[in-house]
């Protein structure tokens, strides 16, 4: 380097740091939102609120893991909310009949089977993931409605363990973390440090190139969608514990937010870019935003408009911050 090439300015250096560590600006934005919330509603940011926010964000983040992982390959899993609902409903209705462990096992198996069906369609029949998962969601919800007619009078019971996980607190923090922390660690480790994780990015980036390098993409996709189904099933169990009502549409309202959490967290729907770390922050951002709007005394229409505009502003800011370094 010659004298002509003066070192980068401090601003550019900060920019590059942000670009290399995209989680940092995302966390800063989250902190900014929390500060805004505290200004709008003084005193709201307390430990109880924090525990509450984490509790609500966990199932959202877990369901968004399904979206993140599938989106890395350029896919999507629109059946995640349905699978979670089915898993929750099956657990609650089967527990009085066969006991909690067996009920949970059945519920998770059903989730895995739906995931495998998705995987079969996407990986082997090459159906577009959006259509495949939308299709299985329709089919599965039809099956759920048929099933529920047979268990109207059997009563429901939510396993105590799930209630403890969903609503209990330890040292002021929600017990859901006992499930989520290992889960998140595992997912992030898998996505960064395992061959399978790398292949997800590879398929999303250029499937033909991955093929030329010897990757059999059907194996990856089949495993991926099965995994996604299993994660959705697990989320359903946790959500059952959180909400404590086995509704027929329990986790369906999470479908769109789970996609939103992933994209706000920096994962590209066209594949090859992003990660679960960002998704977790994305889920927290959405949850904090939800609280902010709940507590705001304005007409519902205004709330939705604000919600949309803030999401847009946060993502635009995020892109500005990380782009500096490019």
């Amino acid at each position: 380097m010659t004298a002509l090439n003066v070192g980068p300015t401090p601003l550019a250096r900060i920019g590059r740091f942000m670009a290399d560590n995209p989680l940092v600006p995302l966390i800063l934005l989250l902190v900014g939102l929390v500060a805004l919330l505290q200004i709008l509603q003084p005193g709201v940011v307390n430990s109880r609120w924090l525990a509450n926010t984490i509790k609500v964000a966990i199932p959202l983040a877990m369901l968004a893991a399904c979206q993140t992982l599938t989106m890395l390959t350029g896919g999507i899993d629109l059946s995640a909310g349905t699978v979670a609902t089915i898993s929750a409903f099956a657990t609650a209705t089967l527990t009085p009949l066969v006991g909690a462990p067996a009920a949970i096992l059945i519920a998770l198996s059903v989730a895995l089977v739906i995931g495998l069906v998705n995987g079969f369609g996407v990986a082997i029949c090459r159906v577009h993931p959006l259509i495949m998962t939308l299709g299985t969601a329709l089919i599965a919800s039809g099956c759920l409605l048929v099933y529920q007619r047979y268990v109207i009078a059997t009563g429901t019971k939510i396993p105590d363990f799930l209630v403890w996980l969903g609503t209990g607190r330890t040292l002021g923090l929600p017990n859901g973390l006992f499930l989520f922390l290992p889960f998140a660690t595992l997912v992030i480790w898998m996505q960064r440090r395992t061959g399978f994780g790398r292949l997800l990015y590879a398929l999303g980036s250029n499937e033909a190139a991955a093929r030329l390098s010897g990757v059999r993409s059907w194996q990856v996709l089949l495993s991926l969608y099965a995994l996604s189904g299993a994660i959705a099933g697990l989320t359903g169990l946790l959500y059952l514990g959180v909400v404590k009502t086995p509704s027929l549409s329990l986790a369906l309202p999470l479908d769109l937010p789970s996609v939103a959490a992933a994209v706000v967290g920096g994962t590209s729907i066209f594949g090859g870019r992003g990660g679960f770390g960002g998704t977790i922050i994305g889920a927290l951002i959405l949850t904090v935003l939800g609280t902010m709007l709940t507590l705001m005394q304005i007409p519902e229409g205004g709330r939705r408009i604000l919600f949309g505009l803030i999401i847009l502003a946060v993502t635009a800011l995020y892109i500005r911050l990380t782009e500096q370094g490019r």
Binding site: L78, G121, C125, R126, V127, H128, L130, I131, M132, L134, G135, T136, A137, L138, I139, S141, G142, C143, L145, V146, R149, L256, V259, A260, V263, V264, S268, I269, F270, P299, E300, G301, G302, R303, R304, I305, L306, F307, G308, L309, I311, L312, T315, A316, I319, E323
Partner: protein, 324 residues
């Protein structure tokens, strides 16, 4: 001819499937005829407009998740403006709603270009914004629609000079759809602008380097989607006579129809005919399931299976076409 067939194998396949379904419907319900077609066409209308709008943005390499929400804004605006209005005022209101659609779409597009945030995030955010706007305009179903507007899509076509029996089987709603699409999309498709839309969807960088104003073209794509959303919202109001602030199930339906119709998510490939045929097929399947008095919960299962099966079959056709 063979080249045409292999290039359009998807569309031809869908048309054949539609014909097959029509025959099946006639077998299920022997008195299925002009009135059946007519009600089918009216049901298709909002879905078709949503799908056409979605097709255009998808071809241009984007996606518009705010489609149904924009339809709701158009629908409530039209209903509020037309309630108790004279025919002349109602006509102005209709024009105003179409302009509103263009403006909403252009806002979506401009935000995408200016913020450089991915299309899916911007339109997801705008989905909430337009929902909010619809609620602010009308917080519960209400408003009205001018009778002449509602008559525009009711019944069969009657052309002066031609025997009624010859034209009557063709529902006015189909004619309305065809005319609207032909007036807006066909001239664009044939112009350089149409190519530009395909070009930015196919390869944005190559398009930019070929001297195409990429940002502007994207805005145009979204504005067109907004215009078709307005037409969709208007057709909801035409059918129901009111405006509903809650968006109907048009978003997912239109994305599904776009993919079923052979348009590639990611852009650059496909046309408008396939997705519109797909819309007709999906509506007709629903009609047949009702006619057969299938258990409603099983209906969902069948609809899901058919959707997936059509895509699998379409994929097979495409592979065949490539091998030729």
């Amino acid at each position: 001819m063979t080249r045409f067939l292999s290039k359009n194998s998807r569309t031809v396949g869908l048309a054949a499937l539609l014909a097959l379904l029509l025959v099946a419907t006639k077998l299920i319900q022997p008195d299925f005829g002009a009135s059946g077609l007519e009600s089918l066409a009216r049901a298709v209308l909002p879905f078709a407009f949503a799908t056409v709008g979605m097709t255009i943005v998808v071809i241009a390499g984007g996606i518009d998740l705010s489609m149904a929400a924009m339809m709701a804004v158009a629908s409530v605006t039209a209903a509020v403006l037309m309630e108790g209005a004279s025919d002349g005022q109602a006509a102005i209101a209709v024009l105003g709603v179409l302009v509103l659609g263009l403006v909403m779409g252009a806002i979506n597009g401009t935000l995408i270009v200016l913020t450089r945030v991915p299309d899916i995030v911007v339109t997801l955010a705008m989905l909430f914004v337009w929902q909010g706007v619809a609620l602010l305009i009308l917080n519960a179903p209400g408003g009205g629609a001018a009778p002449w507007l509602r008559d525009l899509v009711v019944g069969g076509v009657v052309l002066p000079g031609l025997p009624t029996a010859l034209t009557e089987w063709l529902p006015k709603a189909v004619l309305f759809l065809v005319i609207a699409v032909a007036l807006i999309w066909v001239p664009i498709r044939r112009s350089r602008l149409g190519l530009m839309l395909y070009a930015i969807g196919s390869d944005q960088l190559a398009a930019f380097r070929s001297g195409i104003p990429v940002g502007l073209t994207r805005i145009v794509a979204y504005a067109l989607a907004g215009l078709f959303a307005a037409l969709g919202g208007l057709s909801v109001t035409m059918g129901t006579g009111i405006g509903e602030p809650i968006p109907g199930p048009y978003l997912m339906a239109s994305v599904a129809a776009v993919v079923l119709g052979g348009v590639v998510l990611g852009g650059g490939r496909g046309g408008i005919v396939g997705p519109v045929l797909a819309v007709f097929i999906l509506r007709l399947v629903r009609m047949d399931l009702t006619l057969l008095s299938v258990d409603p919960n099983v209906t969902a299962i069948i609809e899901g299976t058919i959707t997936v099966a059509v895509v699998m079959f379409g994929g097979l056709l495409a592979v065949r076409g490539m091998q030729k």
